[in-house]
C-alpha cells in the first residue's frame, strides 16, 4: 500500500473525502465521521463519554460550563515548499496541543486527534468540578434531582472526595417561585444556561436570564414576568442539577424508585413520545422521550400533567348495571351479557355506536366488528378540534383520528354526528353503545339520553353519560393498556402498559372483544392484544406485515398525510443553518 500511496488517491483522507467524511483519531482509534461534526458528537460515535453540562444537541452551544474539555491535536503545518508527510498507515503525525479545547463547540477536521482521557484532561475535569462544587449546597438529601443529577454523577467520576474550600459559600435565593409549575433554587444552579437557551430558542418566550457577575451570577426571571409558558417544564428536564424543579413532582418520590415505561402522549394528534414514571401502581410523572420524527425532545406542560385524572376519585373501578333506578356493581361477565342483551332483536337503524378517536387502533377495529355484528351504519366518532399552538400541540385534539380513519375505512368518521343525535332525540334510535366519551360534554342533553331504552357506556371516569347508562363498563386509561395509534403525520406508535387497571376495570379491547363474542358468537375471539393487531394487519393495507413488536419505541411511518409538526420544521431549519446539532 505504501508504494502506491503516492501515485493513486488511496490515502485515508481521500477515501473519506469522497464520502464527505473526515478521519479522526479518538483515544488512539481512527474513525470516519461526517465533515462538520462537533467533537463531542464524534466522541459519542466512538463510544467515548465526554462529560458535559451546558451542551444539548437541540440547543445552541455557548460552551460555558467548560466540563467537556478534551485534548486536541492536528498535523503540524508544513513549512513553505514542504510536502506533508504520511506515515505507514497513511495518516500524518498528530501534533498535540498543550492546552485543552471544549469538545461541544468545535468541529472535527481531517487527521485530527482527540484524547478524552489522560493526565491533562483528567486534571482539567477535576479542576472544573472543584470550581462547580465550591458554592454548591449539600442539598442532595432534599434535592429532587438526586439520582438523576449530572453534578452528582460527574463529581463521583471526576471530582475529589473532599472540599478544600475553607470560606463560607455564597448565598443566593432558594425556593423561588418563578412560575405556576416551576420552583427555582439559585444556589444549586451551575450556570449552564440550558433553560435560558430553551426558553429563547425553542419556546420563543425568553423570560429567563442571568443577572449579576462572577460568583454572584444568578438565574432569574424577567421582572414582572413569570415562567408560565406551556413548555416551561421542559427546562426542568434539561436542567442538569436540581435548580429547576417541577412543583407537581416536587418531593413526591425519589427517582430511583421509579420504573420507566416508554409510551406516547394521548392528549393531541401529535402523539409526543413519553416516558411514564411509576412506582407500584401509581404514576408519579410523565416526561418527554426523544423522537426526532415526532416531538424532538420536548412536550407541552398541559399534556404532561394530564395524567392526574387516572388517579382521580371519579375513576370507575367496577362494572355497574341499573336495577331499580340504582347502579349496582356486578361482575364483568354479567355486565357484558346484560349489555349485549339490550341490543338483541333491534334492527340496525335503531342502534348506534358513538365511539372516540381517543381509542387505540385495536379498540376501533373491535368497534367496527361490533358495528357489523349489530348490522348498523350508525357509527360516529366525536371530533375534538382546537387551534394548533404552532409548536407541538396539534389542532386535532384526538390522538388517533388518522388511525380511526384507516381502521374504519371512513374518511370522515365524524360526519354522522347530527343524524345520530337527531335520531336519538326523536326516539328512532333505541339502544346506544358509547365508548370513551361523555356525550353531555359534546352537545347532548340529558333528556335526549333518557330517551334511550338501553345505554351502554364504556369509560374510565364516571360522568353524566355514565349516570344515565343501563350498563357501565370500566375501561383502562392510556397507561394501563397496550395498543397502537397513528398520529397526524401518519406515524404508527405504540402505547405500553405502565400500571395495572384499578379494581375490576380492564383494558378496553378485552371488554369489547367479550361484547363482540356475545353479539356474534361466530366472530373472531382474540385472546391477546397481538391477536387483535394481527386482525388489523390482515384488514388494513397500511399495517400489513406489522406487529406490535415491530412498531418499536419510536414508531413506524405508515402513511404520509402531508401534515407537519411546526416545532420539527423549525428545528430542521436550525439544523440546516448549523445552529444546533439536532
Amino acid at each position: 500500500m505504501s508504494d502506491s500511496a503516492t501515485t493513486t488517491p488511496t490515502l485515508p483522507k481521500d477515501l473519506a473525502a469522497e464520502k464527505g467524511m473526515v478521519n479522526v483519531q479518538i483515544d488512539g482509534h481512527w474513525i470516519q465521521v461526517p465533515k462538520g461534526t462537533r467533537m463531542i458528537e464524534a466522541c459519542k460515535m466512538a463510544e467515548k463519554e465526554v462529560p458535559h453540562y451546558c451542551y444539548h444537541p437541540k440547543l445552541s452551544s455557548p460552551g460555558n460550563c467548560r466540563m467537556c474539555l478534551v485534548q486536541m491535536g492536528m498535523p503540524p503545518r508544513p513549512a513553505p515548499g514542504e510536502e506533508p508527510k504520511f506515515g505507514e498507515d497513511g495518516y500524518q503525525e498528530i501534533g498535540w496541543m498543550p492546552r485543552p479545547v471544549i469538545a461541544c463547540a468545535n468541529t472535527v477536521g481531517e487527521n485530527m486527534g482527540i484524547r478524552t482521557g489522560g493526565d491533562l484532561v483528567e486534571k482539567c475535569r477535576e479542576g472544573v468540578m472543584e470550581f462547580l462544587l465550591i458554592n454548591h449546597p449539600l442539598d442532595c438529601p432534599i434535592c429532587d434531582q438526586a439520582g438523576e443529577c449530572s453534578l452528582q454523577e460527574f463529581s463521583v467520576e471526576h471530582g475529589k472526595g473532599t472540599s478544600r474550600f475553607q470560606e463560607n459559600k455564597v448565598k443566593k435565593p432558594k425556593n423561588v417561585d418563578i412560575g405556576p409549575r416551576i420552583r427555582l433554587d439559585d444556589e444549586r444552579c451551575i450556570m449552564c444556561s440550558r433553560c435560558i437557551r430553551f426558553m429563547d430558542e425553542v419556546a420563543d418566550d425568553p423570560v429567563l436570564g442571568f443577572t449579576d457577575r462572577g460568583t454572584h451570577t444568578t438565574l432569574s426571571v424577567h421582572p414582572g414576568r413569570k415562567l408560565d409558558n406551556n413548555y416551561g417544564l421542559n427546562t426542568v428536564d434539561i436542567c442538569p442539577v436540581g435548580a429547576l424543579t417541577s412543583n407537581d413532582f416536587r418531593f413526591q418520590m425519589r427517582v430511583w424508585f421509579l420504573k420507566e415505561t416508554p409510551s406516547i402522549d394521548v392528549n393531541c394528534g401529535t402523539g409526543c413520545n413519553t416516558t411514564i414514571w411509576t412506582r407500584g401502581n401509581e404514576i408519579f410523572r410523565v416526561t418527554p422521550r426523544e423522537n426526532n420524527e415526532v416531538n424532538s425532545a420536548w412536550m407541552p406542560d398541559s399534556h404532561r400533567l394530564a395524567f392526574h385524572e387516572i388517579h382521580s376519585d371519579r375513576r370507575l373501578t367496577s362494572p355497574l348495571t341499573l336495577s331499580g333506578g340504582q347502579h349496582a356493581s356486578t361482575t364483568m361477565e354479567r355486565a357484558v351479557k346484560e349489555a349485549a342483551l339490550g341490543f338483541e332483536g333491534l334492527p340496525g337503524n335503531e342502534v348506534a355506536i358513538i365511539a372516540s378517536a381517543r381509542g387505540t387502533n385495536e379498540e376501533l377495529l373491535l368497534i367496527k366488528k361490533i358495528k357489523e355484528a349489530l348490522g348498523t351504519d350508525n357509527l360516529v366518532l366525536i371530533g375534538r378540534f382546537g387551534e394548533s399552538d404552532g409548536k407541538l400541540i396539534s389542532a386535532d385534539r384526538n390522538p388517533n383520528t388518522t388511525g380511526a380513519k384507516m381502521v374504519l375505512g371512513d374518511d370522515n368518521p365524524f360526519e354522522k354526528y347530527d343524524q345520530i343525535k337527531g335520531d336519538i332525540a326523536s326516539g328512532q334510535i333505541k339502544a346506544a353503545l358509547v365508548i370513551g366519551e361523555d356525550l353531555t360534554e359534546s352537545g347532548y342533553s340529558s333528556d335526549e339520553l333518557s330517551k334511550l331504552q338501553h345505554l351502554v357506556v364504556l369509560n374510565i371516569l364516571s360522568n353524566a353519560t355514565a349516570g344515565k347508562a343501563h350498563v357501565v363498563l370500566p375501561g383502562a386509561s392510556f397507561a394501563e393498556k397496550r395498543g397502537s395509534m397513528v398520529n397526524v403525520t401518519g406515524r404508527l406508535q405504540r402505547l405500553n402498559r405502565a400500571i395495572l387497571p384499578p379494581g375490576e376495570s380492564a383494558p378496553d379491547w378485552e371488554i369489547l372483544s367479550a361484547l363482540l363474542a356475545e353479539l356474534n358468537p361466530e366472530g373472531p375471539k382474540p385472546q391477546k392484544i397481538q391477536d387483535v393487531f394481527q386482525m388489523l394487519a390482515d384488514e388494513v393495507a397500511e399495517f400489513k406485515d406489522l406487529t406490535l413488536q415491530k412498531i418499536g419505541d419510536l414508531g413506524v411511518q405508515v402513511k404520509d398525510t402531508g401534515e407537519t409538526i411546526p416545532l420539527l420544521e423549525k428545528e430542521r431549519k436550525r439544523i440546516e443553518n448549523r445552529e444546533i446539532v439536532g
Binding site: C140, P141, I142, A146, N175, F251, M253, R254, F257
Partner: protein
C-alpha cells in the same frame, strides 16, 4: 490444601456401653442442683442470677444495663438539641432496607415554619417491625444522622398493624440526641 487425618478416640468397654456415661452426666447435674440449693452456683453474681442457680428471671429481671454501645435494637428517629426532627425524608433508608420494612411519604415543610429552609420532612414514616432484621443499614446510610438503632429489643404486639412503628412512635423511641453535626445551621 493439606489433608489432616483425625484419629478417632479408642473407647473403653464401659464407654462403649453408653449407659455408665449417662449416669455420670446425671451425677454432674445432681451436684449442680445441690450447689444451687445451697446458693453456691458459680458465676451467679456476675450473671445477675436470680439466687437459684444462674438463671435470670426475664422479664422481671433484665440485662439492659449490660447491653454494649453497639447493640442493634429497634431503629428509631431522633430529634436534635433544637428539637428539629432530623429526618428530611431522602428515602435512602427505604431504598437500602434489605427486607423493605421502611415506608416513607415525603412532605414539604410549610414556608411559615421555623425550619422552612430545610424544605422537606416526612409526612409519614413507617417501619414494619415484623419485617425489620435489625441490620443497621438504615443508620449507616442516613446522610442526616436521623435514624439510629436503639437498645429496644422486645418489640411485641397483638396484631400486624400494632407491629408497625409510625412516625410518632419512632420519635418516642428515638428521643433527643445531642452532639450531632448541625448541618442546617445559620450559615446554611
Amino acid at each position: 490444601m493439606p489433608v489432616v487425618k483425625l484419629q478417632r478416640p479408642t473407647l473403653t468397654t464401659s464407654e462403649k456401653l453408653t449407659l455408665p456415661s449417662i449416669f455420670k452426666g446425671f451425677l454432674v447435674t445432681l451436684g449442680h442442683a445441690f450447689k444451687s440449693l445451697a446458693g453456691k452456683s458459680r458465676g451467679a453474681d456476675s450473671l445477675n442470677g436470680s439466687g437459684l442457680g444462674v438463671t435470670m428471671q426475664y422479664p422481671e429481671q433484665k440485662w439492659d444495663g449490660e447491653l454494649p454501645e453497639y447493640y442493634r435494637g429497634a431503629p428509631a428517629l431522633v430529634t436534635d438539641e433544637q428539637d428539629r426532627e432530623r429526618c428530611v425524608s431522602c428515602q435512602l433508608c427505604e431504598f437500602i432496607c434489605p427486607p423493605k420494612a421502611i415506608k416513607i411519604v415525603p412532605g414539604e415543610i410549610p414556608s411559615d415554619d421555623e425550619w422552612a429552609k430545610v424544605e422537606k420532612r416526612p409526612k409519614a414514616f413507617d417501619i414494619d417491625m415484623i419485617r425489620c432484621i435489625y441490620c443497621g443499614m438504615c443508620e449507616e446510610v442516613c446522610p442526616e444522622q436521623a435514624i439510629y438503632l436503639r437498645k429496644d429489643y422486645a418489640i411485641t404486639g397483638l396484631s400486624r398493624a400494632e407491629m408497625v412503628h409510625d412516625k410518632e412512635k419512632l420519635y418516642e423511641i428515638g428521643g433527643k440526641r445531642v452532639g450531632l453535626v448541625n448541618k442546617w445551621n445559620e450559615l446554611k
